[in-house]
């Protein structure tokens, strides 16, 4: 299906790859603001489990999401390699700065159009709604995340209903 191919190859570009529970994921580099080591996180009560809490990012308070819990993976103790990737996500009212906790940050890669395939409709432990496409890197395959959708979708509303 050439049309799908075309729309998927639009996602060609630089990606930051990271590991979560042994799998490799990619984030559009333009969404990434910075990467920082894990720091003490202040837990905010009455929020969903996957919200680890808030941190002080140079004077700004930003929420931090545990991506493992968000994706329904088994939680794991933090290691030395555990990182917070600070991303800028789009949101109806503008942009949000959010920290994302991942197991390990790998590298920045350049994905070409032909290396990208549409997301399979099933067979991955992740809701395909959050996926831009699959990137092929030699033998390995990485999941390209649509971070806007991951962080700004349904769950936010869920939070709002809890609040109400």
């Amino acid at each position: 299906m050439p049309e799908t191919m075309k729309s998927v190859s639009e996602y060609a570009g630089k990606y930051l790859t990271f590991q979560l529970s042994g799998e490799v994921y990619g984030l559009e580099i333009l969404k990434v603001q910075e990467i920082m080591g894990l720091m003490p996180v202040t837990h905010v009560p009455r929020t969903p489990d996957f919200i680890r809490g808030v941190i002080n990012l140079r004077g700004k308070v930003i929420p931090v999401i545990d991506l493992r819990l968000k994706f329904g993976l088994i939680g794991k103790d933090d290691t030395e390699k555990t990182c917070i990737i600070v991303v800028q996500v789009r949101h109806e009212q503008g942009s949000l700065t959010i920290g994302v906790i991942v197991d390990e940050v790998c590298e920045v890669i350049d994905l070409k159009g032909e290396q990208i395939e549409a997301a399979p409709s099933f067979g991955v432990g992740v809701n395909t709604e959050f996926i831009l496409g699959m990137g092929k890197l030699g033998q390995k395959v990485l999941t390209m995340l649509d971070i806007d959708k991951v962080l700004a979708s349904g769950e936010l509303n869920l939070l709002e209903t809890t609040a109400a």
Partner: protein, 860 residues
Amino acid sequence: MAKAARKPRLPSLRKSLNQICEQLVLVDLSDLQALAAMHTATGELAAGLETSHGPAAGALREAGQWLERIIMAEVVPAEGWGQVGRLLAAAQAVVCEGADPVQAGLVAAPVAAADAPPAFAPLPGNVDEAILGEFLARQPAVLEEIEQQALALERVPGPEPARELRRVIHTLKGEAGLLGLTEVETLCHAIESALEREGTAVTDTLLEARDWLAKVWAAREGGGEPPAGLERLLERLAAPAAESVPLTADPDLVGEFVAEAREHLEATDVHLMTIETEPSDGEALAAVFRAFHTIKGVAGFLALEEIGRLAHQSENLLDRARRGEVTLAGPVIDVVFDATDAMKRMVGTVEQALRGQGGLVPEPGLDLLLERIGQAAAGTLKAAAEMMVGTEGPVRRLGEILVETGAASSEGVARALAAQATQPEPERLGTLLVREGEARPRDVVQALRSQRGGAGEASAPVEVRETIKVDTDRLDRLIEMVGELVIVESMVSQSRELRENLSPALARSLAQLDKITRELQEMGMALRMVPLRSTFQKMARLVRDLARKSGKAVELALVGEDTELDKTVVDRIGDPLIHMIRNAVDHGIEPDAQARRAAGKPETGRVELRAFHKGGNIHIEISDDGRGLDPEAILAKARERGLVREGEQLSEREIYGLIFEPGLSTAKKVTDVSGRGVGMDVVKRNIEELRGQVEVTSERGRGSTISIRLPLTLAIIDGMVVRLGGERLIVPTLSIVRSIRPRPEELSSVFGRGEMISVQGKLVPLVRLDDVFGRAGHQRAAADSIVVIVEDGSGQAGLLVDELLGQQQIVIKSLGDYLKGTPGISGGAIMADGRVGLILDVSSIVRLAQADGEREEAVV
């Protein structure tokens, strides 16, 4: 065809037009000679182009007029320059490039009369959404200025404020013309003509025009229908006013008269102030008399009838004073001051007429003034202020000025005021101060002068501060970054690695860095601070309208409009203020003058709006000298509404506090402005949202005062840092009643309602935050905890915490959209170690605790 006939000359004309356009870029605006040369050139060109390019010639002539105005310093040079540029460019486009005159925007130069609406085609590519948007964004400020100037004009009629208003209207007219807003242009033109014709215009019509403009802008922004009513406005503006009289006498003689009169009047001011302090100074009195006498003589000779009348009447009064039949003190000397001021304005009008700017405009309010002078001479004058109806400008008190300039101590002024209050016939404060040796005469005179200067003369040069408008987002971003800098700075300078290797030079540099960072932070905070002035001045209009509507005579005094507050607070304090001012005018001030007279008060009601700093807070007070609150009526009403139980004893303060309860209005009569029982509760809520407090004091028959206390900025609160398990939480100090270490006998468990603590005989429910937050926490016994009693609108609760860590100023940080609305938490704060502490939202915690309790109850 005419073009063909003139062909031989046209190229040279084109050439000189191009030359002028080039000069536009090169010329220095302060180079008057170059400007004059351009003026001549445009005139010649216009003459040459008259037959071939009528519209272009018109544009050139108009450009010439603008140049003239720049040279005469009648307009802001840059503004006039813009007009010249626009007109020349259009002429150039038509003449040299053959553009269509309509397209170039020349056909409907603003000379067009009001009855022939110019079909103003927008300049090609000139008017796009962005330009219009930018124009509209500036309009609220312009409207405000129109309103202020119109009110100023009413207060102090005269050529100066009128000129100021004309400037504003003229600019607006020009811009509206550029943007093709024909209706607005027509209206502005009519206002301008009215102002030019009368020197002043009816304030009501001006204000109506302002409101009409506001509707136009609203319609433009919202894409709605333009408002109706323009014709009526135009008609009213076109109504002939008092006719101006042309100057008939010999210009040379008149010129001499103006110069001489000025001199006399200036000397008069000084003499009057001497008399003010030394009523027995015969020499000064004689000098004042001579001044008016001379003016009278010359005015009669020059057929300046009005000036003659005023001088004559004043002379009569002064003559009686000279013969000791009238004492120049109190209201009488005020009248002489007013006469001097009016005389100055009238001489100013003569001078303007002399320069060819209109005829002699009658001085508004002259008859009233003449009458007052007559009364003064007859000894039947009441206090001057009583004669004035309407709004009163910010008249500062003599005592305040003296204390401010350090000429007298505040205790001294207070002593003198107290002495004044006990006198059967109060002396003037200045006199008292001098006699008691609290201040030197010279200082009093100076203070008096500055007081008069502030209230009376609009012609005093106003210092224009340069401002730049900045996007709020950008500003907030800057402040945020400064905040980040502050934190990083403290992290760096306090880092252990650095401290261990600290050389004296490095230490010095660090100290310097620290100082600059702190200054930067303070400045950042100051950036968001704006003066209350414009909010306060809006109230002047409100009081005026309300007074008109209710038929009461009310004056509004503004004090401390320069007090600065966070922009957000200033924006949001307007509505509550409007409510309270309405209440003061509508309910506070007695409905008729008789009632006031009977109560021994001046007939004109007084509402005072004050703002000042005190103890790290901003205080705003609204006081009126009206009837005051009726505690019994309030209490009766509250009982009727079930707000207070029968037999419950309340202090006066608590009773007054009841007026902030919803649904409590003691107004006997519902009017269309207030008294529907909504208002004060909304006021209280609005102010509490701004983290402020509001309180009423009142004295039956003497008036009431509403005091508002607001934090300097919304971004900082006082907070108590408490520890709970491994977490630090912040409780806003404002909501803490007290903190106690409970004794076992004070604690009790009430079935179905959980743990309670008895505080001064009252049972207060205890709140375990871990339960409220729905998490498993350590459950320390209440007796081992510290109980922080907090209070919100609905009641008290005791928060169980492990330890109080101390009180500090907390910079509030939002948790962001992602976590907005988290129950129990109102925000975050960066603690000293760089971690985030959560700020408790007390009222939502109390609510949550109650809800949980009820759920448990239901289960039981």
